[in-house]
């Protein structure tokens, strides 16, 4: 996803000199072509995320489209107040980009597990929150947030994520993408678990359960309409995210459902408990340990669906 992001941004920046990429001394083997060919649109601030974010806001208030870029929690939590006050309060045209959402840096320890970022970013007034599901969505998301005139958070995976979409993607901020139709259950995923979610749907189909799959690439603003349609048209909604179950996709969907009129629907959040992971390992291993594989997710769905009364 980071390759999809940087290649897309590079092309956009060649066409629009307002675009400035600001990195916190990270991006080795990723940002070099941008840095070399567009030096006046590139800035490495060193290991100083608060300064990075303040500078980005200052540049944005002077007409630039500023993107801050770092990994895991560094461009978000380390400089949270700068994002809140300097970026969001000023409605500054800054895009905060984090590489390594969830357990992409699983082996690098808890410091590098970005597992509360969506919740925290979602809470900030004026912040658009985007977590693309595959490299294609990452490309489309990069175009969309760059064109959007205000604060955005872009949560990327790392490298080597599978392409899930085939063909062109109808990507609009705040609009879920229906990946697959189904009437028994709706699986809503955000971020890099899109492929696992699609495979979950395959497994469920083999057991006679037809799953609708929504790629909820934008967490904020949430596509409430898609959620409520799913509630009306399927028997259960399951949210799937590589993020704490507190404050992320599951919470956003739960909020929409809880406030909606009409009968209540069976609902299940699949994600990470509010605990630091005791495990160390690569992303695949971490997903396995935390029940985020197609096998584990489909088992959970089947189990939960069994106790849902048929309407």
């Amino acid at each position: 996803m980071r390759t999809a992001f940087i290649e897309t941004l590079f092309e956009l920046a060649k066409q629009d000199e307002r675009i400035v990429l600001i990195v916190g001394d990270l991006g080795f083997t990723v940002v070099e072509p941008f840095m070399k060919q567009l030096p006046r649109q590139f800035l490495n601030v060193g290991v100083a995320e608060q300064n990075m974010t303040g500078i980005a806001a200052g540049m944005a208030l002077s007409g630039k489209i500023a993107l801050t870029y770092s990994i895991a929690n560094f461009p978000t939590l380390r400089c949270l107040e700068q994002i809140r006050n300097d970026v969001c309060y000023h409605n500054a045209n800054v895009k905060v980009v984090s590489v390594g959402g969830g357990f992409a840096y699983g082996s690098l320890s808890v410091t590098h597990h970005a597992t509360e970022d969506l919740a925290v970013m979602r809470a900030l007034p004026g912040m658009v929150v985007v977590a693309p599901g595959d490299p294609g969505e990452a490309r489309a998301a990069t175009c969309a947030i760059t064109a959007y005139p205000g604060p955005c958070y872009l949560r990327l995976g790392k490298a080597g994520e599978p392409t899930v979409h085939s063909g062109t993607i109808d990507f609009q901020l705040g609009k879920a993408i229906c990946m697959r139709e189904g009437s028994d259950v709706t699986l809503i995923s955000t971020g890099g678990l899109l492929q696992a979610t699609m495979r979950t749907a395959d497994r469920l189909a083999s057991e006679g359960i037809e799953a609708r799959v929504l790629s909820m690439h934008t967490l904020k603003p949430l596509d409430v309409e898609a959620v409520l349609s799913a509630a009306a048209e399927t028997r259960m909604i399951v949210t799937i995210e590589e993020h704490s179950i507190i404050g992320g996709l599951g919470s956003a969907v739960a909020e929409a459902l809880a406030e909606a009129d009409g009968p209540k629907i069976a609902f299940k959040r699949i994600g990470l408990p509010s605990a630091f992971s005791p495990h160390i390992g690569n992303q695949e291993y971490m997903q396995e340990r935390h029940g985020l594989t197609p096998e584990a997710i489909s088992q959970c769905v089947v189990r939960t669906l069994q106790i849902v009364p048929k309407s």
Binding site: L43, V45, Q50, G54, M59, L61, G63, E81, Q82
Partner: protein
């Protein structure tokens, strides 16, 4: 403005601040008074701005990084006719446009909102860097408190500006020697402060932050060196201009009310 006019402006700023904080029962009169002369010379002499066009692209940017000293900023902006003088009457009160920290929303002339310390210099750097990259002529002036020199983010910014040769940037430290819970020396000694900025690569001047002539000189001669950001360590007195507030921690918090208010205004009226 000549020296007398600048002194008069500073005096009016101080009187506004005393009235504003007194009426509102608000804190930070000491921090506003220590910066009054600096703000008078900035707005009376140094900054290029047009109150009719607060978003004029070529305006110099002023950032009050010590956002708690905003009474003085609002006062000088009203004096410069950025907004009506009577806005000051409702400072810090329910429904007022003027909050107790510098706020840009709907306030012409306030460049950015501040209030959490250690944010202003990075914002200013972003603006100065944009000016350099766009070959714009505007300059960025940023007023910091001594207390916010405790913030790591201040020094992240201090490290950056010289590396990027931002000679269109001036940082002024309102060094009034008192912070929130005690003197700077007691809480977190900054000395040698000018040497620290110098060591980080800034062109530094030290001066008496209440001496109009020195301020005029220093604020109009930016940059002090080509390819270096400028820094003024302005030695000031907290509560300057009101004898019973001067150099007193209490007046970081206490609002001048009743007799105190009368005495403060009378003293300021009599001052040169």
């Amino acid at each position: 403005m000549d020296k007398t006019a600048l002194s008069e402006l500073a005096k009016r700023i101080r009187k506004h601040c005393v009235c504003m904080t007194g009426k509102a029962n608000a804190s930070h009169i000491g921090s506003s008074l220590s910066a009054a002369d600096i703000l008078a010379v900035l707005y009376g002499k140094a900054l290029r701005f047009d109150p009719q066009r607060p978003d004029w692209p070529d305006r110099d940017r002023f950032i009050l990084s010590k956002g708690h000293g905003c009474a003085a900023l609002y006062a000088v902006l009203a004096e410069c006719r950025f907004f009506p003088m009577d806005w000051l009457d409702n400072y810090y009160q329910n429904g007022s446009p003027l909050a107790g920290h510098a706020t840009h929303k709907n306030i012409p002339g306030v460049e950015v909102s501040t209030g959490s310390l250690g944010h202003g210099l990075a914002l200013g750097i972003g603006m100065a860097l944009a000016a350099k990259r766009d070959s714009s002529a505007y300059r960025v002036f940023c007023l910091l408190s001594d207390g916010e020199c405790d913030e790591g983010s201040t020094w992240e910014a201090a490290l950056f500006a010289p590396h990027h040769k931002l000679d269109n940037l001036l940082a002024i430290v309102d060094y009034n020697k008192i912070q929130s819970l005690g003197t700077v020396k007691e809480v977190m000694d900054l000395e040698p402060l000018a040497a620290k900025w110098r060591a980080f690569g800034w062109a530094v001047r030290e001066l008496d932050g209440h001496d109009i002539v020195s301020l005029e000189e220093a604020l109009t001669e930016v940059p002090y060196e080509r390819d270096r950001p400028s820094c003024i360590v302005a030695h000031t007195v907290k509560g300057k201009g009101v004898s019973f507030m001067e150099d007193k921690l209490l007046w970081h918090y206490r609002a001048p009310r009743g007799d105190d208010l009368e005495r403060a205004l009378a003293e300021l009226e009599k001052s040169a």
